[in-house]
Amino acid sequence: MAKQIADIQKEESMILQKDMIADHFKALANSNKLGKKVVYTFVPGNLNELIWAFDMLPVHPEINALQSGMRKKSGDYITEAEKFGHSEDVCTYVKCDIGMMKKGNIGPTGEKLPEPDLLLLSYTGCFTFMKWFELLKQEYKCPVVMLHVPYQADGKITPEMSRYVSEQIRKEVVPALEKVSGKKLDEDRLQELLASSGRAEDDLCAVWDAGKITPSPIDAYFGGVYYIGPIFTAFRGLPQCEEYYKTLRAEVDYRIKNKLGPITPEGHVVKEKYRLIVEGPPNWTSFREFWKMFYDEGAVVVASSYTKVGGLYDQGFRHDAKRPYETMAEYCLGCYTNMHLPGRIDLLERYAKEFKADGFLINSIKSCNSFSAGQLLIMRELEKKTKLPGGFIESDLVDPRYFSAANIKNRLESYFQMVDAKRGA
């Protein structure tokens, strides 16, 4: 009975999310008819509330790429992009996006994506973002507005940095949005959206916090990528996003109360054997197979850094409606991708301690320099600081050619046995 209820509960938040995505892509497909302008922008440091305040529709190319990866379409798109001269080493999100565009820009739900009216380049930590929108600019011949977000080189956000970003939003981004939309910014609407974001963020944090319980009722990596779906993508600030997180939180509370493990595609994790911290994005092309390798071993990810690329809410940040420009600036500056290496190490070390982890694992992404550079150093430092065993596996975001199941399984098994041996010693 419990399982049945849990299944139904699981379905509720997942169905909600699925419907939200379907509705959004439908709106995008009909944007012309609906008279809505379209803004392409990136996940880390996105100004979603601002876009919605102008009643424009956001598109996140990375999300399209990962969705294409999960739907086994990315391989063809990447090959298509390579035909146009993009080398093997280029970020596969970029190639997947370019390939998708070249093949008619059919989005993950099967509907055609509209062309952008504006490219809003919120630059947070990933150099490739700049090159990506340069390419899109050539294709779409549309205006670009760049929000330059300084890197946290010293591991902190200074008032000057914050002012620098908020001034750009005020003086460059807002006028650009006003020009393309033909509307003046409605500040009351923006504040409403920001307040809603803050409420959803509270609920998401309660979900992340559940990972501290042993055994954990959540998987903060494989499950986590679903949990971040609405808030990282098009929906932050909207009522349906708030609704989603209320539902999700209730599901997690139910699992806590009933001492249930996280839900995976293979079923509930019955016996938690390993509590892990994971650094780096997952592989999307063999996502389920990858997850199953953890599930089969009873490994649960209790905290991860990838689920913080769109905001470090668990470290206290909340969108604050009372300071709209400053809060948006601080959000952009605080994303995980914008942190310096020592900051990433500190965060992962804190996770290891607070979440009572047995070890940490790095999934190094072949074609993502901004994430992967320095990961071996992160591993060395974490080993020293936490005395926990570190593991290192390699795959890719959406290029199926870079997922070697046998090799990854071999490494994972060795890693789990290493954790066992360390426990026994």
Binding site: F392, E394, N407, R411, M418, A421, A425
Partner: protein, 452 residues
């Protein structure tokens, strides 16, 4: 006698090791992995058990007779033992060949049957020559030894009498050998050993040792191994018919095995057939970090195999030839697929084979150095394991590159290095108190897969 078994199912060879209760290696067995992992596993284990029995025999003989020449008898017993085993296999091969001929031939059946009898009679007569302490055969495997004899005799017959087709005779052999190879001959250990001792005491120099040899051999015939636990590892470990808790990753096994061989080891490099592993271990032999090649087998043992094929040489001949280099060709790629192209390119440019080979060995080690660096560098002591550790040119390149990058360092290479993974597995078998696969019958396990 209580013992623990470790089996390392590698991509090229399968190794088995027996440990006694004091963790001493008492038996080692190695065989080709072929495409039949289950069989390879069983044969390696049987070989290890035979080697363990002979090890004990040595102690028994020493305990009874401590003169300088007393151990001279051992190689003789072993040779005669192998002869007995060979004769049994030959008998089975004769039976198989005549059965196949009966079934497949449509014409000249009787004539071919006569030829087969002649071939096998002569093979039996000549078998004796293959087994003597002063003969070193090109291979230890029955298939190879029998094939050389059979093919020579078939050729001779076919050239003398036009009624025989050489191809047809070879075809009969090819159809029969696999079945013979797939049988286990270890169950008749007692019979072979009795034959061996009878043969040995016929030799004048050992006649006076007759009673002592009999007592000692009787003791090992009666010896029962009580297998407390078995652990499997290696590239093909998923194919082992063991429950999950009796399978260990080869990374852990190589770490623990290297620790057992050289307790001060902190870094282990293993270059096997399909992968290269850089492993860091602590003072207990527990793995603290590791890196391994991803996806392709560039720079692994298989790469040397391809090079050997390209050069029409035996894999064991590569190292000695590379040692004769006067200069080392600069080669960066270790791609197995491009190995042939790289080689031909160099040869066409007029580079010497020796120098190219030295360059290829250096390239393999360069790749390993990168994995070592990624795993945390090299800490003293450093132990090199796996099949490639037996290659002197690879070892030379390793010494040079380690010194250049990390300074002078103690580098250990055990004579048993190819057994490192199996030793580690056997040690895990001893440490795992759950051992419920005592005296496991692999054949039976194969028939009904064991579920945890």
């Amino acid at each position: 006698m209580d013992c623990y078994i470790g089996i390392d199912l590698g991509s090229t060879t399968t190794k088995a090791v027996y440990l006694d209760a004091q963790e001493n290696i008492i038996g080692r067995g190695i065989t080709n992995s072929r495409s039949n992992y289950d069989l390879a596993c069983q044969i390696a284990r049987e070989e290890a058990e035979i080697s363990a029995r002979f090890g004990i025999l040595k102690q028994e003989i020493l305990a009874r007779e401590s003169s300088d020449h007393s151990l001279d008898v051992l190689p003789w017993i072993l040779c005669k033992f192998k002869l007995a085993q060979h004769m049994a296999q030959l008998k089975s091969l004769r039976h198989e060949c005549t059965t196949i001929a009966e079934r497949l031939l449509t014409d000249k059946k009787a004539k071919y049957q006569g030829a087969l009898q002649e071939i096998f009679n002569r093979m039996e007569l000549e078998a004796n020559k293959l087994y003597s302490p002063d003969v070193s055969n090109r291979s230890d495997f029955f298939r190879d030894l029998a094939a050389v004899q059979y093919i020579n005799l078939a050729e001779e017959l076919a050239s003398k009498d036009k009624d025989y087709s050489f191809d047809r005779l070879v075809g009969i052999f090819d159809s029969s050998i696999l079945k013979v190879e797939s049988q286990s001959y270890a169950k008749d250990f007692d019979q072979y050993l009795r034959f061996a001792r009878e043969e040995v005491v016929k030799l004048p120099e050992f006649a006076k040792l007759k009673t002592k040899i009999e007592t000692a051999t009787n003791k090992i015939i009666d010896l029962k191994f009580n297998v407390i636990n078995t652990i499997g590892t290696g590239y093909g470990r998923q194919r082992l018919p063991f429950p999950k808790h009796q399978i260990r990753s080869e990374i852990l096994c190589h770490g623990l095995g290297a620790h057992a061989m050289f307790p001060a080891t902190r870094t282990v490099l293993d270059i096997g057939g399909q992968d290269t592993k850089a492993i860091q271990i602590d003072g207990e032999g527990i793995v603290t970090n590791f890196q391994m090649n991803d996806r392709c087998a560039a720079g692994c043992g298989r790469y040397l195999g391809y090079i050997a094929d390209e050069m029409n040489m035996g894999i064991q001949e590569l190292g000695p030839m590379a040692m004769k280099a006067t200069t080392v060709s600069k080669i960066n790629s270790t791609c197995t697929v491009f190995a042939g192209a790289e080689l031909r390119e160099r040869l066409s440019l007029g580079e010497r084979r020796e120098d190219i080979l030295a360059g290829l060995h250096r390239a393999i080690i360069l790749r390993a150095m990168s994995l070592l660096a990624r795993s945390g560098g090299i800490a003293s002591e450093f132990t090199f394991t796996g099949g490639v550790a037996r290659n002197e040119a690879a070892v030379k390149a390793l010494h040079k590159l380690v010194e250049e990058n990390y300074g002078k360092m103690k580098i250990n290479i055990s004579a048993d290095s190819i057994f490192t993974g199996a030793v580690g597995a056997a040690l895990f078998a001893k440490r795992d108190t759950r051992g419920d696969l005592a005296n496991v019958d692999l054949g039976q396990l194969r028939r009904g897969a064991v579920e945890e």
